[in-house]
């Protein structure tokens, strides 16, 4: 049981990602991390995986609209979103089949319950054995909760990813946190996708999957595709 990111050059270089892997994606603001996260989730849907996206930055409906915007053929019965935003905006939206509402990004207990419910549903009722969990982003959660709290939460859920043979992607905003925070959180992950600002735009590389990091690649996001150059 292995996974691919859906980012072609990186996938070629790092090969198949083994099940149970937890990946931190870290990069500067406005570098396209939301798109990249959704593209990785979409690759999972193409590979007949289930995808669970925890959205702490925008309402769950906006995440679904991203897939609609690019006319992607999304199997709705295999996608679940934990929406940590809508209810903090004062809307009393009920849970739907695809979107479960958490009270707020502070409510890690509630977020954890919703993630577990989606995992149970996909495993027990849909008999799906490959699931991707994308948390976008940890930085928002860190705004409301201290490092220790978030570490404890991640300690549990990175373990659950391993137990479920799933793939975990966790997004962090570079520059928002001190070095100690990043170093502490890194302990929990098996690999990283690093993003930096290059001379002609943004660059990315993968770290921790091969003995040496991959080279830095300039990239462009074209709709639901990432084009790597160099």
């Amino acid at each position: 049981m292995t996974y691919k990111l859906g980012i072609s050059r990186l996938d070629e270089l790092i090969g198949d990602i083994k099940s149970g892997t937890n990946i931190m994606m870290i990069g500067p603001p406005i570098s396209g991390k939301d798109d990249i996260t959704n593209i990785i989730a979409y690759q999972g849907l193409l590979d007949a995986n289930a995808a669970v996206i925890v959205s702490t930055r925008e309402p769950g409906n906006n995440v679904l609209e991203w897939f609609e915007r690019y006319n992607l053929d999304v199997p709705m019965d295999r996608i679940g979103i934990v929406d940590c935003v809508t209810r903090t905006l004062g809307f009393g939206a009920p849970d739907t089949d695809n979107i479960k509402m958490a009270s707020s990004p502070v409510d890690l207990t509630g977020i954890g319950v919703k993630i577990s419910q989606f995992f149970e549903h996909f495993w027990m009722e849909m008999h799906l054995r490959e699931t991707r969990l994308c948390i976008n982003s940890l930085s928002t959660i860190l705004m409301y909760s201290n490092l220790q709290t978030v570490f404890r939460f991640l300690h549990v859920f990175t373990g659950r990813i391993k137990a479920a043979n799933a793939l975990g992607i966790y997004v962090i905003e570079e520059g928002m946190h001190d070095e100690r925070t990043i170093v502490t959180l890194k302990q929990l992950f098996d690999g990283m996708i690093e993003i930096r600002e290059g001379e002609e735009g943004y660059q990315m590389r993968a770290v921790g999957f091969t003995p040496k990091p991959t080279p830095w690649f300039d990239y462009e996001i074209d709709g639901a595709n990432i084009v790597l150059r160099g």
């Binding site: 009270s103 207990t109 201290n146």
Partner: protein, 390 residues
């Protein structure tokens, strides 16, 4: 004594929580623990007890919506219900609650509000914490443990019951042990059956210092509306052809479906029962011998069995007994349904026992599935038997 309103839990606690005592719902991450405190609060208020809810990770108006989602209207209790808002201050939002914690990251600020609320309660009431773990995350582990001691002393002084929802994130071993074993008079474990994923939830009493603990685990489901329901994942309904199994399943179920041809079940009946705090999925087998291979498949992992018999057809009883063998039901709790009690030529329960050659302790209950008479009494009896085994 204050009932918790959680099915079976009050039996295990011999009536509930005495006023002045404290209870913690000790939930494992990913398991639906918060609803336990909410349900206990609403149940207590419905019995005339005043309630205070300490909101630490949800906005107060959202808390009220959550209560409504479960079918509990906290507002109907008027002044009998209050929220201590320990959340709005965290996100810099305004609050219109009677009690607002100025600094949710300081236990002293929270303690002051709790003390005020306790003093304002005219009679012994209940204080429920939405999430003790969030308080601990914000205020620190040792500070929170110290504060709990203080809150519990106030509760004892004013004869209020304290209920904490706690999620057992990986805090220090000492903290977890303290919450689990020391700080409260009673601990209810709320856990998950975990393999690759959490595929079932249970609760059980770990400790209650006012009574002898009944150490049994109860599987549960959380329904909206409804709240915590003791849950039996599989109850089998079997019996000879035309005994009324499908009718029995449909009479019991809030929703049910049958795979049949011209009214005869050819694959299975499936129904979901939600009755008096208990939920169960029930599976009915076909009755004809040619379906015996399917019956074996359907019957695996059942926790209890209804054997439905047509009380007027003694000639089918041997087949009924045979079906208990096919479904490997011996050893499981079994209730025999003496159906069609409204028809002419009905045998008495003792006649049926004799013709089946069943022992005295085998439960046989009369029913008329077409009218629903006796079906819920039989369900309650089987649930009690399953819970006794559990």
């Amino acid at each position: 004594m204050m009932e918790t309103g959680i099915p079976k839990l009050d039996d295990y606690l011999h009536g509930g929580v005495p006023m002045g005592k404290t209870l913690v719902y000790y939930a494992y991450p990913g398991v639906e623990g918060t609803v336990f405190g909410m349900q206990s609060l609403c149940h207590a208020m419905s019995n005339g007890v005043s309630g205070v809810y300490v909101a630490s990770s949800t906005e107060p108006h959202r808390i009220r919506e959550q209560f409504n989602e479960f079918g509990w209207d906290a507002e109907e209790y008027g002044d009998q219900f209050a929220i201590i808002d320990a959340f709005s201050g965290l996100i810099g939002a305004d609050s219109h609650e009677r009690y607002v914690v100025a600094d949710p990251e300081d236990t002293r600020s929270l303690t002051q509000c709790i003390k005020n609320a306790m003093e304002d309660l005219r009679e012994p009431g209940v204080i429920v914490f939405e999430s003790l773990s969030t308080v601990m995350d914000l205020c620190g582990e040792s500070e929170t443990l110290d504060a709990i001691e203080e809150w519990n002393q106030y509760a004892m002084l004013y004869d209020h019951a304290m209920i904490y929802n706690f999620t057992a994130w990986p805090y220090s071993d000492d903290t977890l042990l303290s919450i689990k074993e020391d700080v409260c008079d009673s601990t209810i474990s709320v856990g998950g059956i975990a393999g690759e994923v959490i595929f079932g939830q249970y609760f059980g009493v770990l400790k209650a210092n006012w009574t002898d603990v009944i150490r049994k685990c109860v599987l549960f489901k959380v329904l909206k509306p409804g709240g915590v329901r003791a849950y039996i994942p599989k109850i089998l309904v079997t019996g000879p052809f035309d005994a009324g199994k499908s009718t029995f399943v449909h009479a019991l179920s809030t929703r049910a479906v049958s795979v049949d041809r011209l009214g005869t079940t050819i694959a299975l009946d499936h129904g979901h029962v939600d009755h008096k705090g208990f939920a169960a999925d029930i599976f009915g087998t076909p009755g004809q011998a040619r379906f015996d291979p399917i019956i074996k498949l359907i019957s695996g992992e059942a926790m209890g069995v209804f054997l439905v018999l047509d009380s007027t057809r003694a000639e089918d009883f041997a087949r009924g007994r045979q079906m208990l063998e096919i479904t490997r039901s011996f050893g499981l709790p079994v209730v025999i349904i003496a159906n069609k009690q409204d028809c002419d030529g009905t045998l008495t329960l003792e006649d049926i026992r004799g013709k089946l050659d069943m022992p005295e302790n085998m439960v046989i209950m009369p029913a008329v599935a077409t009218t629903g008479e006796g079906v819920f009494e039989a369900f309650e009896t089987l649930i009690d038997m399953v819970m006794e085994v559990g």
